[in-house]
């Protein structure tokens, strides 16, 4: 074997396939992340959430997957940048009149911008939770659940989402994510060659529901906390 996987990712088609694979991986992560966080809606004072957060923070498999996840994010971004540079090279003279909306959805043409917005949100989000949890400490006393001591991530959440502008940033982030997914979900299947007269309409429908539902659930978290529905 002279090149990695026959040089599969070296061509334009390969790059798309790469985007599709990392995209689907990130989508699967979203599902897990959303499911765990949604436990706060049980309104049990965050007990189950804190237990789950602890598991996620200490399990060796999850810790490895965390590295994979970051690799996935970075890979997705790098690929996007390469594709963008390629496309700039392919198309340097623009039309005077471009009736884009007649041919395609606006968010399909602005995936790069939506992705950038999501990245900016992600930085804020990591600084809010991941950095304190892993490195700088929460500065919140631990909580006792069933006789065991846990980091109180739930309290951290309540603290972060008590600030109005933070909530707004999170909601904007989730709107960007929703549109990014709306294009990205079905696009990943297309890129992987999974287009079929019978199944593609189902995938598209499911993709739409997923793209709205997951960001909506995420967005409800800061809103519920800010408006005091959870405590």
């Amino acid at each position: 074997m002279t090149t990695f996987l026959n040089g599969i990712f070296n061509t334009s088609v390969g790059k798309k396939i790469g985007m599709g694979i990392t995209g689907l991986f990130l989508i699967s992560f979203l599902l897990v992340h959303c499911a765990i966080n949604a436990t706060i809606f049980l309104n049990d004072g965050g007990n189950i959430f804190n237990e789950a957060a602890h598991f996620m923070g200490t399990n060796i498999f999850i810790r490895i997957m965390e590295i994979v996840l970051f690799a996935g994010i970075i890979g997705h971004i790098l690929q996007a940048m390469i594709v963008t540079i390629d496309n700039r090279k392919a198309n340097s003279v623009k039309y005077d009149v471009f009736d884009g909306k007649a041919n395609s959805k606006w968010y399909s043409r602005w995936m790069g911008l939506l992705g950038t917005l999501i990245l900016m949100f992600l930085i804020v989000h990591l600084l809010d939770f991941w950095v304190p949890a892993r490195f700088t400490g929460l500065n919140i006393p631990p909580v006792m659940i069933d006789g065991n001591e846990y980091e109180n991530m739930y309290a951290k959440m309540l603290e972060v989402f008590s600030v109005g502008w933070v909530v707004v940033v999170y909601i904007l982030g989730m709107i960007s994510l929703a549109y990014h997914l709306m294009q990205g979900f079905q696009s990943a299947f297309q890129s992987l060659g999974l287009n079929h007269k019978m199944y593609t309409p189902m995938i598209r429908m499911f993709g739409k529901i997923f793209s709205i539902l997951i960001p909506l659930i995420f967005a409800l978290m800061p809103l519920a906390i800010y408006f005091g529905y959870l405590n």
Binding site: L5, N6, G7, I8, T11, S12, V13, G14, K15, K16, I17, V83, D86, N87, K89, A90, N91, S92, V93, K94, Y95, D96, V97, F98, D99, G100, A102, N103, S104, K105, S108, R109, M111, Q183, Q186, S187, Q190, S191, L192, G193, L194, N195, K197, T200
Partner: protein, 246 residues
């Protein structure tokens, strides 16, 4: 009907171009869009000016020669037709119609509205064929092909190579064109023999010719005058994965 045509004029490949406006009066609604250009050109010639250069040949939507980016869309506002099949009655009286050449770095402008699409030929030369020499083919009925497979191959082979897909794509990607040829052959037993080489060679050539990467906006499908589906692109991706990994 009256129109103002705002047309891209460019002397040659290396010259700078600019838009020039031409008012047109008393255009018959029965005229085709290109007949309106013929009419304008007659006027220009009688005034001693250079007529607008544009490609057109069969004028019945099959040769793929005509191009033109009209009011922000490839082949104009009517879906499923080429510029030569477009009629003046599809526009509003008094409208200003902006006409530009295809824009893609792999389709350099030669003059006015004429672009060089030889990159398409080069991609076909890299693998868009069945490698059989003339003579010695078995009887046509020895290869049984289901009606569905023949229809599937046909739905891809109707591509006229006009370049609207590239022109419409914000990335100047040629995936719809290339996948049509790959998909055509992939649907038929005759094409399966060298399917692996075909997809790899054609994709490599497509990249070498400088076309952009696909980001699945599907503008190509929306503007293809033959309404070829992006399913073909998925099929090409599948063929590619199979060729590389299996």
């Amino acid at each position: 009907m009256n129109f103002t045509l705002k047309v891209w004029r460019q002397k040659n490949k290396n010259a700078d171009g600019k838009f020039v406006s031409y008012p047109l009066k008393d255009i018959s609604p029965d005229m085709s869009f290109l007949e309106m250009f013929d009419f304008l050109n007659e006027e220009l010639i009688s005034k001693g000016e250079e007529p607008i250069a544009f490609d057109s040949d069969c004028r019945e939507g099959i040769c793929g020669a005509c191009s033109m980016w009209i009011n922000g869309r490839a082949h104009g506002p009517v879906p499923g037709v080429t510029t030569c099949q477009l009629h003046v009655r599809s526009f509003k009286d008094g409208e200003t119609i902006v006409v530009e050449p295809w824009r893609a770095n792999s389709f350099p402008v030669i003059k006015d509205l004429i672009v060089d699409r030889s990159s398409f030929d080069n991609v076909i030369a890299a693998g868009g064929f069945v490698s059989i020499n003339t003579g010695g083919a078995q009887d046509g009925n020895d290869i049984l092909i289901s009606k569905d497979d023949a229809a599937e191959a046909f739905s891809a082979s109707i591509c006229i190579g006009c370049g609207a897909c590239v022109a419409a794509c914000k990335n100047s990607s040629a995936m719809l064109f290339v996948s049509s040829k790959i998909s055509h052959f992939a649907s038929l037993p005759q094409g399966k023999v060298e399917a692996r080489n075909r997809v790899q060679n054609m994709v490599a050539k497509m990249d070498e010719e400088g076309f952009g990467d696909c980001s699945n906006t599907y503008a190509c499908e929306a503007q293809c005058p033959k309404e070829i589906s992006v399913e073909k692109i998925a099929k090409m991706n599948r063929e590619y994965l199979t060729a590389k990994l299996l």
